[in-house]
């Protein structure tokens, strides 16, 4: 389990390590860009390599080896990756504020960062302290603890707010032009409620952005209500699919013994190199032909397949396509036996 958490964080690390630099750069360009990230995504890759070393020195140096391996997989990150992201932001921010202005980087999932930048620019400087501590916690425990940590660290933010004030003075002029409704942190030592409130809202919007990436078709819908609608529909349709499939399975179960042997590892490896296409135990079977790229894997272990299955291999690809189409068309639950 620790391993899993570590690996999950590292997934987001490589993509998050530049987030702080680009965040401050973002302040200056804020008016132009609202939430569109498509323009900037190519830029990310350019800076990824150059800033990697500098940032990683101050952040997760021990994650470095893992980070590269998980770069492309960030989109499959799970919950804890959010906090790792925050941690990245916090550490790099506190150490390298000067570079921020010179770097303009966009992350693929920088939508989340943009909202952070747009809404929490000043706040995040204070928040970094909080999250810095939260991030350490995450390595060991679930991410839910971070919420408590935020509140417990509010007292620390008072002291840190002054230091962050001085740091932010350089960028303060530009900040005044921003539309950020977050009031200046200077002089606001107390008022923990609004701090917590902002932190909370920030996190929520960040997660919404993440979900937006996850749920297909969410990009077209603007506004939280619409997005939430999409997400709800998507989850419901997924659950219905599972139910439908299990119904099918219940009917087909008697034949299960004949068909299924132990699925070999190779099958899944091929699956995951080609994104979500599951290679079944039979070499010619492909799933979700209309939605995912088809890939033939000729190197499957034919020895795995039970000789009894030979008769069932004949199923033509057409039936799979119609099956998979119907599966994704939840409105028409057609049983195909």
């Amino acid at each position: 389990m620790l391993e899993c958490l570590v690996s999950l964080e590292s997934m987001s690390l490589s993509s998050m390590d530049v987030s702080v630099l680009e965040r401050l750069k973002w302040l200056q360009q804020q008016q132009q860009q609202v939430l569109s990230t498509t323009n900037a995504s190519p830029e990310l890759l350019q800076f990824h390599g150059t800033n990697n070393d500098e940032l990683l020195q101050n952040t997760f140096s021990h994650f470095q080896m893992l980070g590269s391996g998980f770069g492309p997989n960030y989109s499959m990150g799970f919950g804890p990756s959010h906090e790792a992201m925050d941690g990245c932001i916090s550490r790099t921010n506190s150490c390298q504020m000067d570079q921020a202005d010179t770097v303009g980087v966009m992350l693929n999932n920088s939508e989340e960062n943009i909202t952070i930048i747009l809404k929490n620019k000043r706040k995040s400087e204070v928040k970094t302290r909080e999250e810095e501590k939260t991030e350490k916690k995450i390595k060991v425990e679930a991410e839910t603890e971070s919420n408590m940590k935020v509140k417990s660290n509010l007292s620390n933010t008072e002291a840190s707010s002054e230091t962050s004030k001085q740091k932010s003075k350089a960028a303060s002029e530009t900040q005044k032009l921003d539309y950020i409704h977050v009031r200046a942190r200077r002089g606001q030592a107390t008022d923990r409620h609004s701090l917590a409130e902002r932190a909370r809202r920030e996190k929520i919007s960040k997660k919404m952005k993440y979900l937006q990436d996850l749920v297909p078709g969410c990009n077209k819908v603007t506004g939280r209500a619409g997005m939430l609608d999409e997400i709800i529909n998507y989850v419901q349709s997924l659950q219905r699919q599972v139910e439908f499939l299990s119904m099918k399975l219940a009917v087909l179960n008697p034949e299960l013994e004949l068909a299924m042997e132990d699925l070999s590892v190779k099958q899944f490896q091929a699956y995951f190199t080609n994104l979500p296409v599951v290679v079944a135990s039979k070499p010619s079977l492909m799933v979700d032909a209309p939605l995912f790229p088809l890939d033939q894997q000729g190197s499957l272990d034919l020895s795995v397949i039970n000789p009894n299955q030979a008769t069932t291999i004949e199923a033509p690809s057409a039936s799979w396509e119609t099956q998979s189409q119907s599966l994704y068309n939840t409105s028409s639950l057609g049983f195909q036996y």
Binding site: G79, L228, D288, A315
Partner: protein
């Protein structure tokens, strides 16, 4: 219990353990759990038909066991183990615990709508109602991912048997 034993037996160790994408781990675990469980079901219930609910139960159980690092899986396990009548994940519990949110500084209407939907989302997620909103949103993300993987795994199993 047996399922957990099966899970342990089928644990896959790779040469570079850190580099297995979690989705692969999940799918492996899932199928290695589900298939033997279904076979066992088959063998045990020779006479009576395999109930659809029991299959659903197995499916949910496999899902929960394959994704134990997430909070929702614990809730799902709880649900499954406590009730013998398997509660399907699609049926939303009618009046769950409603977590009151402090409305933000935005307009009341907009926020109310949003909170309504958040609550709906909470119902969909197993154990979602016991979490606060932020946590729930994070969990929803990986729940969606696991559901997708589960769908794909189930499809491949189904297609194997046809």
């Amino acid at each position: 219990m047996e399922r957990q034993i099966i899970n342990k037996k089928k644990r896959v160790f790779s040469v570079e353990p850190n580099k297995i994408p979690p989705s692969e781990v999940f799918t492996r675990k899932y199928t290695s759990l589900l298939v033997p469980a279904l076979k066992k079901l088959n063998m045990n219930k020779n006479s009576s038909q395999v109930n659809q609910l029991t299959v659903k139960h197995e499916v949910d159980m496999a899902l929960a066991l394959s994704a134990q690092e997430f909070a929702w899986s614990r809730f799902l396990l709880q649900k499954l183990s406590s009730s013998n009548n398997p509660t399907t994940t699609t049926s939303s519990s009618s009046n769950g615990i409603r977590i009151q949110e402090r409305s933000g500084k935005e307009g009341g209407h907009e926020d109310g709508e949003r909170e309504e939907k958040l609550r709906e989302l909470q119902k969909l997620l197993p154990g979602g109602e016991e979490m606060n909103v932020e946590e729930m949103l994070g969990e929803i993300g990986n729940y969606i991912k696991c559901l997708e993987l589960q769908t794909i795994a189930l499809k491949s199993i189904v297609q194997d048997t046809t």
